[in-house]
Symmetry: C2
Subunit: 318 residues, 2 copies
């Protein structure tokens, strides 16, 4: 009887790996530097090393481990286990799942970090007990993941829930990194909030915000709390747009719960109140009332817990 799983949270700066029981309780955890600048082979070796470390520390044999889950930045091909490319890792069309399977003899699943976070919230966080969950992360960018009918939903190229690139104001002057204008990311991400603040300062608007070049969304929120009118307008607008994005997800997916995480969501009550107020006016009342819009529950270990959930949910299906 295989009673354990391993989760690997593969990031641009560090690799966090943990072994847990089937209830997701972490038994051993370790963190190594990724060494991304040292190339594919080195990073691969460090993933191996981190897995060996948690196995040894926990005194659990390979044979007792049901599956390994890896959460990684994308784009990637989850079905094949291949990372296609990502700005902060050296892998290019590189299959990371197979070498792990070969070395440890344990079935290994790869998914992008937003999907892993969605699975983590579904299995152990704000979405426990639901069947249809959406997860949105609002930080530098806006991303997402989904569990539908109780299973991870990835779409046909593993890129479903690219919610940040949903167009919600087509004639907006605000351009996204993806090239589109007026998509959710260009209007409500942390980057968008900082840009609007920079523009306001440069336009000479009356605000306590200073230093146009280095303003962050954090500072905009601080100014908001001090009653700064410019900061208030910027955040109100950004959160109203986020509410439109949320309403669009409600009419399309009719989910039980939308879990929102990421740095901007950490603003907390203000963020959630404004987002809900806006979303309510943009969809049917009965559909809005049927969905819970809640903060992510998994904290610091969200990445590795998501990877553990990936291993658990995928190996359950087989």
């Amino acid at each position: 009887m295989k009673k354990y799983v391993i989760g690997v949270d593969l990031g641009g700066t560090k690799i966090t790996t943990a072994i847990s029981d089937l209830a997701g309780k972490i038994i051993e955890k370790t963190t190594l530097a990724t060494g991304a600048h040292l190339g594919e082979e080195v990073v691969m070796e460090r993933i191996f090393e981190s897995i060996s470390m948690v196995l040894e520390a926990s005194k659990i044999a390979e044979e007792e481990v049901r599956a390994i889950g890896i959460g990684s930045p994308g784009p990637l091909d989850a079905e094949k286990g291949t990372i296609i490319t990502t700005p902060n890792l050296p892998f290019k069309n590189y299959n990371v799942a197979k070498p792990i399977e070969r070395k440890f003899g344990i079935t290994t699943y790869l998914d992008n970090d937003a999907n892993a976070a969605a699975l983590g919230e579904y299995a152990f966080g704000a979405g426990k007990g639901t069947k249809n969950l959406l997860y949105i992360t609002v930080s530098t960018g806006v991303g997402g993941g989904a569990v539908l009918n109780g299973r991870p939903y990835r779409g046909s190229t593993s890129n479903a829930l690219e919610v940040g690139h949903m167009t919600i104001e087509p004639f907006s002057p605000h351009r996204c990194n993806c090239g589109n204008y007026g998509d959710l990311e260009s209007l409500s991400s942390g980057t968008a909030i900082a840009k609007r603040a920079k523009e306001a300062v440069e336009a000479g608007k009356e605000t306590i915000l200073k230093d146009a070049q280095t303003i962050t969304s954090y500072e905009v929120h601080q100014a908001y709390l001090e009653g700064d009118a410019v900061a208030m307008e910027i955040l109100d607008k950004a959160f109203a747009y986020m509410g439109i994005g949320v309403a669009n997800l409600i009419v399309n997916f009719d989910p039980e719960v939308i879990v929102i995480g990421g740095g901007v969501s950490k603003i907390g009550d203000l963020f959630f109140a404004k987002v809900k107020e806006s979303a309510r006016t943009r969809c049917f009342d009965f559909m809005f009332d049927a969905v819970k819009i809640v903060p992510a529950e998994l904290g610091q270990d969200a990445g590795v817990i998501g990877a553990i959930a990936l291993a658990l949910v995928e190996s359950e299906e087989k």
Copy 2:
């Protein structure tokens, strides 16, 4: 061995019922007037009658029928088999599935007509062989249905894929029947096209369109074909908005195929060319290139074939 299924296409004016083999080949088909004005009991009796008629005509026994599928206007609760309410049928919170199961001893599934159409295209039409399919209908309104991971996707209140109510221009002056402004239905439905034409005629614009009160989207298309500049602008805009809606569905669902049916889509090549041109500029190239955007293939019998597909797909899962 149960080798047949029955599909019931329940409409406001007629009930079409057919019995088919497991490949969806129709053996017998009948159509009765719905008699909606005569009340719940009468309509229920006519559904029974239509089922008895196809059984008798085909000389197939109840025991040989694997399942019955009913496609109906919504909103409804597919899980319970209950029609909640609908403008053109007398049922109010009425369970239509159970009386049929009781009378014939055959498992019965209910779904809304857009989902049934999605299943029909998935099983027998433009989406054969795919796993992730979206279906959009563009006529008076804009609706949709989905098959995800090879299964019907309905969401938690059976109302997923209300794509017409996705907001794509929040500050538009155009109001939808649902109360929202600038949703897809308010900008690209047949109703929206007719309204824009009416407004243009009333504003005295130079156009061959006449008779503001009775203009239909069909007439706008006719005027377009004759080179009418006002008609061209109206259709170009409506189809560009539809393309934005389609792009939003691509980034959210990452489907293999988007099948578009309904009266407005019958405009054909012009419609599909403009929709694709717009959608391409609003999403990642690699995601746009991965999805086929195609016309619905099921013609006149689409409703009843959808109901047959519902019976087939749902009874396969058990």
